[in-house]
């Protein structure tokens, strides 16, 4: 028996080991295939961005024309060149154009440049901008983006995190008080989120900057910037109030409404009623029976919120004159500065891919219903 038992244990252990090895292989295989799929998505996405940012090569024509126009104006303003013969002037003009075209790489075919741009983007060598410079004067796309990232993160992280946590907590609270006056008020106010944040921004500026003079019209800090870290931080904080408020006001009611509806579905499940019947406290019910099953969705939403901070907001930043990524991308699109556009997108693409990748794994950890890599997986 013992021998048989030993044999049986060995078999069982082998089976467990084999199953464990098989699970490990399955997870590894799944992880690799997901990584490859995401990488392929990033490659395709980035190349499409390269093509779109350059309008399939048409931007070259636009840039060539802009170079010609600019060179002509430059020469027109040159008093000495004006007195040269037409041939001499044209010769200078053509030389100026040739130098500028070489500088911008327009002397090479677009296809070649597009694949080079793809490779540089994938290796995160963001290269040099065509026209734009960073605030401190650098042409490196990396520095151009990094400089604008901090103000954008500051504004949007403050506003979005505030929005996210306020929404989830208030929604959770309301889901247990369905039909209360507060619940009805939130539902009634939800359509106000149809207006974008800049719309509220304009009103906030009008009320709190123009009439009451409590807050500044825009910018990130007072002029001239105060010396010292604390006064500087306080000044930034004061400038942050109106733009952050507009983001929160513009989305808070709808966000609460949608989270509250989501929580309501789970609040009315049988097991919640059972827990209630068992006499569990509201906090325990919320934590164990409502939040736990909704956690994957909350985490997904949170992760995507974090990524969305990267994009900034074109109009809001312009309304508040906030030196963020939104304004940067707006200028880059306006001036056909493809490296800056591609640079912004490629970082976003990588962040998105990484988030999706990590979320897949996180789901498996926090949600027992998810079986990574298995047939008919539910993730």
């Amino acid at each position: 028996m013992a021998k048989a038992g030993t044999f049986g244990d060995r078999q069982a252990r082998r089976l467990v080991r084999s199953r464990g090895a098989s699970t490990g292989m399955r997870i590894l295989k799944y992880t690799l295939s997901r990584a490859l799929a995401l990488l392929a998505t990033v490659v395709v996405g980035v190349y499409l961005t390269v093509l779109i940012a350059n309008m399939g090569g048409h931007v070259d024509e636009i840039r060539r024309s802009a170079i010609r126009e600019q060179a002509a104006l430059t020469l027109q303003l040159n008093q000495e060149a004006r007195l040269l013969s037409a041939e001499e002037r044209n010769q200078i003009l053509n030389e100026l154009i040739a130098v500028e075209e070489r500088r911008l790489g327009l002397d090479q075919p677009f296809v070649v440049r597009s694949f080079r741009a793809l490779w540089q983007a994938l290796t995160l060598d963001l290269g040099r901008a065509y026209y734009m410079t960073s605030d401190s004067g650098s042409r490196q796309v990396r520095l151009i983006i990094l400089e604008r990232l901090a103000p954008t993160l500051l504004l949007f992280a403050t506003a979005e995190l505030l929005l996210f946590f306020l929404s989830v907590l208030i929604a959770l609270f309301l889901s247990r008080r369905y039909g209360s006056w507060l619940d009805r008020l939130i539902v009634a106010l939800a359509p106000t989120s149809a207006a974008p944040s800049w719309f509220y921004g304009v009103f906030l500026i009008l009320i709190f900057a123009a009439i009451l003079r409590w807050f500044p019209f825009g910018g990130m800090v007072q002029t001239p910037p105060p010396q010292g870290t604390l006064p500087y931080a306080l000044s930034v904080l004061k400038h942050l109030v109106l733009p952050a408020s507009s983001i929160v006001i513009s989305a808070i009611f709808y966000s609460i409404y949608s989270w509250r509806t989501f929580f309501l579905i789970y609040s009315s499940e049988d097991y919640v009623e059972m827990a209630k019947a068992k006499g569990l406290t509201s906090a325990a019910i919320e934590r164990r029976y409502i939040l736990r099953p909704t956690l994957p969705t909350i985490i997904t939403s949170f992760a995507l919120t974090i990524i969305s901070l990267w994009t900034g907001s074109i109009v809001l930043e312009r309304v508040f004159n906030w030196p963020g990524l939104g304004q940067l991308i707006y200028r880059a699109i306006g001036s056909f500065d493809a490296p800056v556009i591609v640079g912004s997108v490629v970082v976003y693409a990588y962040l998105l891919a990484l988030t999706v990748f990590v979320l897949d794994i996180v789901y498996a950890i926090i949600d027992p219903r998810v079986k990574v890599g298995a047939e008919g997986q539910t993730s």
């Binding site: 048409h58 840039r63 303003l77 060149a81 040269l84 200078i92 605030d135 401190s136 019209f217 030196p323």
Partner: protein, 822 residues
């Protein structure tokens, strides 16, 4: 008792006020440099927000030319706000002249026919465009000449005649176009023009960024009314330029483009405009190559571009003819001179250039002040700031960056913001000698103009630069057989130049700063130089084609001679000062030397082109990664007491001067954190690149009195009224009085160039022209003799008076109607 106390108190109060006023007056008299203590500049992209901020006093000036009519009304209605007007930009319609049948598409192009293009002048209503579409922020324009520039004033009567001839007349336009369309073989079917069985389609490239969108739609509607099918293509600048500039006109990708141009300064010589806008010589681009001016127009255009005339009178005649021919040619139709306003607080005074606005004139830091006050902080907002790196040689060219840069700069001469004529600033006086027969005239008394049969260039003058040996090539070496020049300029700096002019870091100005400027005029365009920049090579080569030599005749006092074959019609424009104000800002020899060292070692580059080529940063003297590199070079230069271009500059800069300069710059960098220095009335306290803020402060060692340029607080645009009898009998003499004033005061006669009149008779033709005679300051008389009135027809006549001032280039037109009877 009480009354006496009250009287005593009143006297005391009066005495106190008097003392304060006298003190303030004395202070104002003593004040040197800028009136204000500080100028803080920040970004504000939205004009409407900027005006609200002005209204509540958060900012004092929005240094941007706004053209929104609604905002203009808002500013006009607010007594707390004031504004300056600028007129630099203008709009036109560019025609594709290829054809009449496009070889690429086989479609008809009516605008290949000059008469059709000419008829478009009658079709469009310029008054409607200016008043309705531009909301009054523009004036109708008919010719290639900007209506606020001096050349327009010189031929104002001719221009007026053109305006009368090409006034809005849609029936005439339709008749001419129909006639030409039939001539081309087109037929009208159901009100639509057809060619070869297909409707004639007109592609209008409509720019979308400004009022040109409405203008394009208006034009398209007019053409549709005439029976054309119009394809309205709405494009941004970049999208449109790829078509109208780059495409072959014969492909027929467009017929009309809604063009726009801008002048950033008052241009005193528009003679080459005909070549630029109407002739294949203008630009080597496909559209220009399709232009086919008539032989006569081509000849005149060429002569005007080359200044091939003997006198100003001859030039005027050529221009008059060219203007007429350009209207017949009409490859372009100019329709509006745009005006814009720069809003500010009413208590703030500042000079604004007619074309370049406030940011475009070097006078702004001199004239900026709160009315009646000395000192104070001015908050200025601009649409963008610190957009590109600042370096004096090839740094930022953004107009808004140039405003603070101009605040820190000084110059040899300053352009008059209302006439474009240079005025002496750092220099004291000048002499200009030109070859006999050249049509050069003198306008001001600080220049002496001479004519000479020949102008030999001295053998020891510097004619070129050897970048390897780092020494100048003399005239004797470059022109072994000797050479002559068409123009010689001798500039005299004041005797106290070196003791009164200082750089912001405290270094006294020296001749080394001048010599460095001369060296850098050549060095960057010379292969073999460590700072050679291929962008500069063609520019330097062009310069050398006319440049003959420069000679420092005397170091103290500083006198510099310049010889060149380049000349301008105004003697004042022929003065070469060599003051170290570079293309993009001021520079001393020592702070520029750091940049030269950094570029020589391929760590930074002055120009963006070379920075890309070397894959290094574009040099920035005020912020960013450049500062660390420049600081390292400062330490090395200080340690070795470095003098750049030592074989040459070492002859003008002593070791002691070098030592002092490096110490001053090191202390400056330590205190301010940047390398930007000038000799202007304001210095850069700090630039905040991410926050987009520039902080300027008054430079206390600036030598000139603060009120030096007070004359330019406001443009003296003449206000004209005409008085006289409303009824004139044919064959009887008649007189009319013309009152010319400014701000209610008579306009000084010595500031009036001419008061010219035209009489347009009842037939709509110019029947008489002449000049009004001066009676006293601000009063002129137009006399029509009996013979004159006998030439008029019975009916309503219009007396048009054109007043041209020497103080401002905008002529004033005033008309007076009178009836002629038998």
């Amino acid at each position: 008792m009480m009354r006496r106390m009250s009287q005593t108190a009143s006297w005391l109060a009066l005495a106190l006020i008097g003392t304060l006023l006298l003190s303030a007056g004395a202070l104002a008299q003593q004040r040197r440099g800028a009136w204000v203590d500080e100028v803080i500049m920040s970004e504000e992209a939205n004009a409407a927000t900027a005006i609200t901020r002005l209204e509540v006093g958060e900012i004092d000036l929005y240094a941007f030319a706004v053209s929104d009519p609604g905002l203009f009304q808002q500013v006009q209605a607010n007594p707390r706000l004031a504004y300056s007007l600028t007129y630099g930009s203008f709009n036109e319609m560019t025609f594709n002249v290829a054809g009449p049948v496009f070889s690429g598409s086989g479609k008809l192009n009516p605008f290949a026919v000059a008469r059709v293009r000419e008829a478009m002048n009658w079709l469009i209503d310029r008054e409607y465009i200016a008043q309705e579409i531009f909301g009054g922020m523009g004036a109708p324009r008919y010719t290639v000449f900007n209506t606020v520039f001096p050349d327009f004033a010189r031929v104002a009567d001719v221009a007026r005649a053109i305006e009368l001839k090409y006034g809005h007349d849609p029936e005439r336009a339709e008749a001419v176009i129909s006639e030409e369309m039939q001539e081309l073989g087109a037929v009208k079917v159901n009100g639509v023009w057809h060619y070869n069985g297909e409707p004639v389609e007109i592609i209008v490239l409509i720019r979308v960024e400004d009022e040109r969108r409405e203008v394009g739609d208006y034009l398209a509607s007019l053409l549709e009314d005439l029976g054309f099918v119009v394809d309205r293509q709405y494009k941004t600048a970049g999208e449109a330029s790829a078509i109208w500039i780059s495409s072959d006109p014969n492909e027929g990708l467009f017929h009309i483009y809604t063009g726009g141009w801008v002048s950033t300064a008052v241009d005193r010589d528009l003679g080459d405009n005909f070549d630029f806008y109407y002739n294949p010589r203008g630009l080597p681009y496909p559209l220009w190559q399709a232009y086919q001016p008539t032989p006569r127009f081509d000849e005149i255009s060429d002569r005007l571009a080359r200044n091939d005339f003997r006198s100003i009178e001859e030039r005027r005649e050529l221009i008059a003819e060219a203007l007429s021919l350009s209207m017949e040619d009409s490859v372009r139709i100019f329709y509006v001179d745009r005006s814009s306003f720069i809003p500010r607080r009413a208590e703030l005074e500042v000079t604004s250039d007619l074309a370049g606005g406030i940011s475009g004139t070097l006078l702004w830091p001199h004239t900026l002040r709160f009315e009646g006050r000395t000192g104070g902080i001015v908050n200025v907002a601009l649409p963008s700031l610190l957009t590109e790196p600042w370096n004096p040689i090839a740094g930022t060219n953004w107009v808004f960056d140039q405003m603070p840069i101009r605040g820190t700069a000084d110059s040899g001469t300053i352009a008059n913001p209302y006439t474009g004529l240079p005025m002496p600033q750092r220099i004291e006086r000048a002499e200009v000698t030109v070859k006999e027969g050249l049509p050069v005239t003198q306008n001001a008394d600080w220049v002496e103009l001479h004519f000479a049969p020949e102008i030999p260039v001295p053998a020891d003058a510097w004619a070129d630069w050897d970048p390897v040996a780092q020494r100048f090539i003399t005239v004797a070496e470059r022109f072994p057989g000797g050479t002559t020049a068409l123009r010689k300029s001798v500039v005299y700096y004041p005797e106290d130049l070196y003791s009164t002019v200082f750089w912001h870091d405290g270094s006294p100005f020296s001749v080394g700063d001048i010599v460095m400027g001369i060296i850098l005029s050549f060095d960057r365009g010379k292969p073999g130089s460590p700072i050679f920049d291929e962008v500069e090579q063609p520019v330097i080569e062009a310069f050398l084609r006319s440049f003959k030599g420069v000679r420092i005749v005397s170091v103290d006092p500083l006198v510099i001679e310049t010889y060149s074959d380049t000349y301008f019609l105004d003697a004042e424009l022929n003065v070469s000062t060599w003051f170290p104000l570079y293309a993009q800002g001021p520079g001393a020899w020592h702070n520029l030397a750091l940049g030269v060292r950094a570029e020589s070692q391929e760590e930074l580059a002055f120009s963006t082109a070379k920075a890309d080529q070397l894959d290094v940063e574009w040099m920035n003297y005020v912020a960013g990664p450049s500062l660390g590199i420049l600081a390292r070079h400062l330490n090395e230069a200080r340690a070795s007491n470095y003098i750049p271009y030592e074989p040459t500059l070492g002859q003008y800069v002593s070791a002691e001067e070098a030592q002092a300069r490096w110490s001053n710059l090191a202390a400056w960098y330590q205190e301010k954190g940047h390398f930007w220095i000038g000799t202007g009335p304001l210095y850069l306290e700090r630039a905040y690149p991410v926050e987009k803020i520039v902080h300027l402060k008054r430079f206390e060692r600036y030598p000139d009195p603060a009120d030096k340029w007070a004359l330019f607080a406001e443009p003296m645009i003449a206000e004209v009224d005409v008085f006289g009898s409303r009824r004139v009998q044919l064959g009887s003499p008649a007189t009319f009085e013309v009152e010319v004033s400014f701000a209610g005061e008579p306009y000084p006669d010595d500031a009036i160039a001419e008061v010219k009149y035209l009489v347009i008779d009842a037939r709509g033709e110019i029947a008489l022209t002449g000049w009004a005679e001066p009676l006293e300051d601000g009063l002129y008389r137009v006399t029509l003799s009996a013979d004159d009135t006998a030439k008029l027809a019975v009916g309503v006549n219009r007396l048009e008076v054109v007043t041209v001032s020497t103080l401002v280039s905008i002529p004033t037109f005033e008309s007076f109607e009178f009836v002629t009877t038998r």
